[in-house]
């Protein structure tokens, strides 16, 4: 499965980010969300959703091979990670997160809670990566 952003449906409510932080970190704390919403105001006056589509650029960039694809999801192996944060710079969507207080970066786990909660159907789960493009 792959996450797909349908930007024109997004109204910037941020429910996805709140759900993400609760699902992944067990905290009501959207600052730890693993996706971002960019409001472009006043012009052009719209929203852009930045999320992980499991492209693998992080794994390719990692010098320690600390990011592995398991069941279609790229995951950080903390025990191998050297905290160089090369992957953070490599992510084309800016969603490999170096969260304050964490030694290792965090990324989307494809839990699907963002897509499930989005009241605007602005995030969808797709069968194929091509479909998510």
């Amino acid at each position: 499965m792959y996450l797909k952003a349908i930007h024109q449906n997004c109204s910037g409510c941020g429910t996805c980010r709140l759900a993400c932080s609760i699902a992944n970190f067990n905290e009501v704390r959207p600052a730890r969300a693993l996706l971002t919403i960019e409001g472009r105001f006043p012009a052009p006056g719209d929203y852009r959703i930045h999320l992980c589509d499991q492209c693998g650029a992080c794994a390719e960039a990692c010098p320690e091979e600390a990011i592995e694809q398991v069941d279609g999801v790229y995951r950080v192996k903390p025990e191998r990670c050297s905290s160089c944060m090369t992957c953070v710079d490599a992510c084309p969507y800016g969603v490999m997160m170096a969260l304050p207080g964490d030694e290792t970066p965090s990324k989307c786990t494809l839990c699907g809670e963002c897509a499930a909660i989005c009241p605007r159907e602005a995030i969808a789960l797709m069968e194929t990566r091509e479909g998510a493009r």
Binding site: Q8, C10, S11, G12, C13, G14, T15, L18, A19, S21, I22, A23, N26, E27, V28, R29, P30, A31, R32, E38, G39, F41, P42, A43, P44, G45, D46, Y47, P100, A116, I117, P119, R120
Partner: protein, 637 residues
């Protein structure tokens, strides 16, 4: 910082900033305060009652500006983005508050505070920065004079897009009595002049970024309750119907039943309403829906407009702006209403009061009560140039703008010559978007709203207009055409409808949640009981919550009694137009409510509230509501 018990749902702290001395202090949120007043509007009322020195001038350093979230603000549930602002009113001299959507309140909580209490006055233009635990008062001379939208963009550029920002425009700096506080390029704490109070404190902006978490008793249970609420609300029949047009969608209905303020409330029906309705917003302006925090049904429509005066990006117009500029000022199409909306947003002026003040000025000009030489040019209804000219004058208090910046009550007192009878306000706050000469319950709602003539306290038109609506579908884009209405029935139940609504709607302002899902979509109260329990760990029935809302209502009345000499019944009347001039045309042609009928309504209302004939809460009532502290403040025995 002193340690204290965790208060689930809340951040647990009040941040106090003394702008005169630059002092910043955090104190624990008092558990008793949370239990007795819930949050938001309740905190605003209690803090103003306890801490505002009686008799304070609204623009003096001693006035307080309280910004308060509720226990549900920032949590995962439908529409948890609300923030409440309160102060002593520049408009009425009594209790004032204004509620705002957007994302500021949740950010304030994530930064660790439920309440931000501002006192004093900065020596020079400043802005307040709250970045988690870091709190700084910073110079803002480079922002002073900028528009509210421009200043927000400038601060986002300087500080980062992840800051949530409040700004004022020139109107707030110049203490226009209906200046607003702006946020997120189109949300406002619009009413009662809270922006003028912020300006009087020399504060141009407040920027907040929070990275903390909010405590709940059990994260999984709160998450499950929140997800269930989102799922259930999406099943409501109005869920999909509401969003396309948002509040603008009721423009048709308001004209079809004849409650649309038109030509300075001379009549209640605008023939051109299909050119300024929700469909027009959708088809001619909209770029995107723009939601408040966690909102599944965003009212905000962000769009772009082009007029002969210029083009603009603007959020809206929403219904109230359509009513006051499209109806009351008769602007002929949605593009021009949107441009007036943009000017107000940039200048930092409440669109409701501005539309009311300008339409009053045009009527005065037409009747020869204000001379062209005083205004500087002719002004007219249905003329965007007149609106733009006056807005710019008002924002900087230039010439005629200085008079109009005082609000319609004070301006009419100065102009005199009978202009008071069509200065449409209650207590000094301009009337919002519903004409009520054939709607006795709604008339009573406006007369008794604590902040002045505002529909946010009670909306009871459905009771007045027999069979008018039963669901949101009847309200939105009805398209049935205007029809002659029967005369409204005046009955004791009118008071009950108003009182029930005055407890229900403001309760949401205490919880920190938007009332739209409950009021417009019929999302049931038991959901809020469950969410309140899962988030705060405290069990309160809906009736108990309404009881607290009644306590708050009586406390805001007590504040106005304390602050306004002679406050009472005489402050609860509409202007003479509404009890002496029949509506000239439209669905309610020929109707008005006589003074005797208004007195009957007030008598029923005071009696049902447990207030005396002068509208003062009795000793028994205040004690029944658990407000012993209020009896002494207003000397009731």
């Amino acid at each position: 910082m002193k340690k204290h018990n965790v208060l689930y749902g809340y951040s647990g702290w009040i941040l106090r900033v003394d702008l005169t001395h630059g002092g910043v202090r955090k104190e624990p949120l008092d558990e008793d305060l949370a239990q007795r007043f819930i949050g938001g509007r309740g905190f605003v009322a209690k803090l103003l009652f306890d801490e505002l020195p009686p008799g304070t001038d609204p623009f003096s350093a001693e006035n307080l500006l309280i910004i308060a979230t509720g226990p549900l603000s920032g949590h995962l549930l439908p529409s948890s983005g609300k923030t409440h602002f309160g102060t002593k009113s520049p408009a009425t001299g009594g209790y004032a508050d204004s509620n705002m959507g957007g994302h500021f309140g949740p950010a304030l909580k994530y930064a660790g505070q439920d309440v931000l209490a501002l006192s004093g006055r900065a020596a020079k233009p400043c802005y307040l920065l709250i970045d988690d635990q870091k709190v700084e008062i910073r110079m803002a001379e480079h922002l002073w004079g900028q528009g509210a939208l421009s200043a927000e963009k400038q601060l986002k550029t300087e500080l980062g897009e992840d800051f949530q920002i409040l700004t004022i425009g020139p109107a707030g700096e110049n203490r226009v009595r209906y200046a607003c506080i702006s946020h997120d390029f189109g949300r406002q704490a619009g009413r009662t002049g809270v922006g003028a109070v912020l300006g009087s404190k020399n504060i141009k902006a407040i920027a907040v970024r929070g990275s903390g978490s909010l405590p709940v008793p059990d994260v999984a249970e709160a998450f499950a309750a929140g997800k269930e609420a989102f799922r259930k609300v999406s099943e409501k029949p109005g869920f999909k119907a509401w969003t396309p047009e948002g509040t603008a969608g009721i423009t048709n209905w308001c004209n079809e039943v004849g409650v649309f303020p038109t030509r300075n409330f001379q009549t209640s029906y605008a023939e051109h309403y299909t050119r300024i309705n929700g469909k027009a917003v959708l088809e001619r302006l909209k770029i995107t829906d723009k939601g408040c925090y966690c909102c599944p049904t965003p009212c905000g429509k962000y769009g772009h407009t082009k007029t002969r005066l210029g083009e603009a990006y603007v959020e809206g117009p929403e219904y109230e702006t359509i009513a006051l500029f499209g109806g009351n000022c008769l602007l002929p199409n949605i593009e021009e209403v949107a441009y007036a909306n943009y000017l107000c947003d940039e200048l930092g002026i409440d669109t409701i009061s501005a539309g009311a003040v300008i339409s009053w000025a045009v009527e005065c000009f037409e009747k020869g009560l204000i001379a062209e030489s005083r205004i500087g040019r002719p002004i007219a209804f249905a003329d965007l140039e007149s609106v733009a000219y006056l807005l710019r004058k008002i924002a900087v208090r230039d010439g005629i703008g200085d008079l109009l910046a005082e609000g319609v009550k004070r301006a009419a007192q100065e102009v005199g010559q009978g202009s008071e009878s069509f200065a449409i306000h209650v207590k000094g706050l301009e009337w919002t978007g519903y004409e009520t000469r054939n709607a006795p319950a709604m008339m009573l709602a406006y007369m008794t709203a604590d902040v002045g003539a505002h529909h946010s306290r009670a909306w009871v038109l459905g009771h007045d207009l027999a069979g008018a609506w039963t669901s949101v579908h009847d309200l939105i884009s009805s398209g049935r055409g205007a029809a002659k209405q029967p005369p409204a029935v005046i009955k004791p139940e009118c008071a009950r409808y108003v009182i029930d609504s005055q407890h229900t709607r403001p309760l949401f302002d205490a919880l920190g949640v938007c009332r739209l899902q409950y009021m417009e979509l019929g999302f049931e109260e038991h959901h809020y009981e469950t969410l309140f329990h899962r988030i705060t760990g405290r069990k309160l029935s809906w009736e108990e919550m309404l009881g607290i809302s009644e306590r708050i209502w009586n406390l805001t009345r007590v504040i106005s009694i304390r602050e306004i000499p002679g406050f009472g019944r005489s402050w609860d009347y509409p202007p003479a137009r509404f009890f002496s001039e029949p509506i000239p045309d439209g669905p309610n042609a020929g109707y008005f409510l006589s003074k005797e009928k208004l007195d009957q309504l007030l008598d029923w209302y005071y009696q049902a509230r447990g207030w005396d004939a002068n509208g003062i809460p009795t000793w028994d009532t205040l004690l029944r509501l658990g407000l012993p502290e209020a009896t002494e403040a207003i000397g009731v025995r």
